[in-house]
């Protein structure tokens, strides 16, 4: 663990050497989701609601998923750009060190400029929370925090799966973007607005539903039956990372160096 924080610190310092570039990139990261959010706002201005969900309810959903995405993009960037390590043969060096491959790959790259994106979603979150008539209880706050952490775990899991594929394909696969960028784009609306099969796939296979739709119902007081079920779903969703972890270990054992 201490190795991980060392990595973190070193990368932070090195990115801070190019301070102007850092600020500009962060600013840019702020504006990309901002335009998406503006689009969302204008759609609600015209249509009023989407399958019974109001603007601020969807905004809450948007904020949670974008926060999870930006955090995981910042900290799991090493897995996202893992194909570079394979192509250059740098993974050989990772293997000879007496630390776990997971920590080393995780620490091989950070994108601190995602802070801009995070800031944008935090602003949306604050706006949405202050406009929604929610009676806050400790369990609801806990659920909200759980939603975000579970989102981070799921995105990281997908990055890991995509990285594992690189062991066989060497080149990174663009198809993985369907589940990261596409998943983000999709999960910014509550899942029940989509067709049943889409909602099911993204609840049981890749559990985005446990990040936004199910616990969101609990927070907004739209649940029927036991609240506990809705509350713990994010925790169940975080379990997604476990199989990803095993798949990663399996992939590492099958690694063959490109030799360059």
């Amino acid at each position: 663990m201490s190795v991980y924080f060392k990595y973190l610190l070193i990368h932070f310092k090195s990115q801070m050497q190019y301070r102007t570039s850092f600020w500009l990139l962060s600013l840019g990261q702020f504006f990309i989701p901002f335009s998406v959010f503006a689009g969302l706002y204008f759609l609600f201005e015209r249509f009023g609601q989407i399958k019974g969900w109001g603007f601020f309810e969807v905004a809450l959903c948007f904020a949670v998923i974008h926060m999870a995405f930006s955090i995981s993009e910042c900290f799991a960037r090493g897995f996202d750009s893992f194909s570079d390590l394979i192509i250059k043969g740098d993974f050989d060096r990772v293997l000879v060190r007496p630390r776990s491959t997971f920590v080393q790959v995780l620490g091989s790259k950070f994108e601190f400029t995602r802070a801009g994106r995070l800031l944008q979603s935090v602003m949306v979150l604050i706006w949405a929370l202050s406009s929604l008539p929610i009676e806050w209880t400790i369990t609801k706050i806990a659920t909200l925090v759980l939603m975000m952490t579970s989102g981070v775990f799921i995105f990281t899991g997908i990055y890991m799966l995509a990285a594992t594929m690189c062991f066989w394909t060497v080149q990174g696969l663009e198809v993985a973007n369907i589940f990261t960028d596409g998943g983000r784009e999709m999960a910014q609306y509550p899942l029940n607005i989509y067709h049943k099969w889409v909602a099911r796939f993204f609840t049981y296979v890749i559990p985005f539903g446990t990040v936004n739709y199910l616990p969101l119902q609990y927070i907004l007081g739209k649940t029927q039956g036991s609240d506990l079920m809705y509350m713990v779903t994010p925790a169940l969703g975080s379990l997604f990372i476990l199989p990803c972890f095993f798949v990663w270990q399996f992939g590492v054992r099958h690694y063959r160096s490109t030799g360059s």
Binding site: S21, G28, E174, N177, G182, Y194
Partner: protein, 267 residues
């Protein structure tokens, strides 16, 4: 002219090499298209007033957008050109006995064209055979189709002339990220990639009408679905043409301006 044509041809065959990448792109765009359609379907289901564009027209719009995404995306860029400018290798380009503007224009045009040729047909064909509400229909008349094709091609020329400014700006800023971002976000939004232009509020539509971005992508797609009637489409094409002439003229001037001041620091 012959030089530019051969640059175009060379780049086209280079772009065709990346078939697997194109296939992956097609899968992504399908997913994207489906999500967008489903979101709009959900919005339309309980719409209190009739929206300014019907769901059917919107679906055509979205599929065309996905099929011709490289005709719209400013993010689709040539890093080689950026490197030329920042590393000083631009001096080699300046030694060539032809104008830089035309040379780069042909290069960029060919990149977009080759990538679109690889990607658009699979998307168009599959989208055509999808079950009823989601399918891509044939254009509603022959004239509409002809107008669509010419509007699309003019839109492409227009987009390349806009993107030339991106490369020109790097001569001044020396880092592509800033300009890429400004151009990328603006063009994406005002070309109707995030929400279709007809669904924007009126004041925003007025802004979109003045900017050139809408004429690159939004306009041809609406001609296809018949949302823009034929006589209006003819006028629109004239607008595209005048934009194109003005932008190319400005671009040449700007490029010549920055080239006069260009400093190559060894290397």
């Amino acid at each position: 002219m012959k030089v530019y044509l051969s640059v175009l041809k060379l780049r086209l065959s280079m772009g065709m090499q990346y078939r697997t990448a194109a296939l992956a792109g097609v899968a992504t765009q399908f997913f994207w298209g489906f999500i967008m359609i489903m979101v709009f379907e959900a919005f339309y289901e309980h719409a209190s007033s009739t929206p300014p564009i019907s769901l059917k027209e919107l679906i055509q719009y979205i599929w065309l957008q996905q099929a011709f995404l490289v005709f719209v995306m400013m993010w689709f860029r040539d890093n080689e050109l950026f490197d030329l400018i920042t590393s000083g290798n631009i001096s080699y380009e300046l030694c060539r006995p032809n104008g830089l503007y035309g040379f780069w224009y042909a290069k960029l045009l060919a990149q977009r064209l080759s990538s679109a040729i690889l990607r658009c047909f699979p998307i168009l064909i599959i989208a055509y055979f999808l079950p009823d509400p989601y399918n891509l229909e044939l254009p509603h008349s022959n004239t509409a189709f002809l107008l669509f094709v010419s509007a699309l091609l003019l839109g492409l020329l227009l987009l390349v002339s806009i993107s030339m400014f991106l490369y020109i700006s790097v001569f001044v800023t020396l880092s592509p990220m800033g300009s890429l971002l400004v151009f990328g976000v603006l063009s994406e939004f005002f070309a109707g990639l995030i929400i279709p232009v007809p669904l924007m509020p009126d004041w925003l539509q007025q802004i979109a009408n003045v900017l050139p971005f809408r004429w690159t992508a939004d306009f041809p797609f609406r001609v296809y679905s018949g949302h823009i009637p034929e006589h209006e489409a003819a006028i629109g094409i004239l607008v595209q043409l005048s934009y194109l002439i003005v932008l190319i003229w400005l671009g040449r001037k700007a490029l010549n301006g920055v080239l006069k001041k260009v400093v190559v620091q060894g290397g």
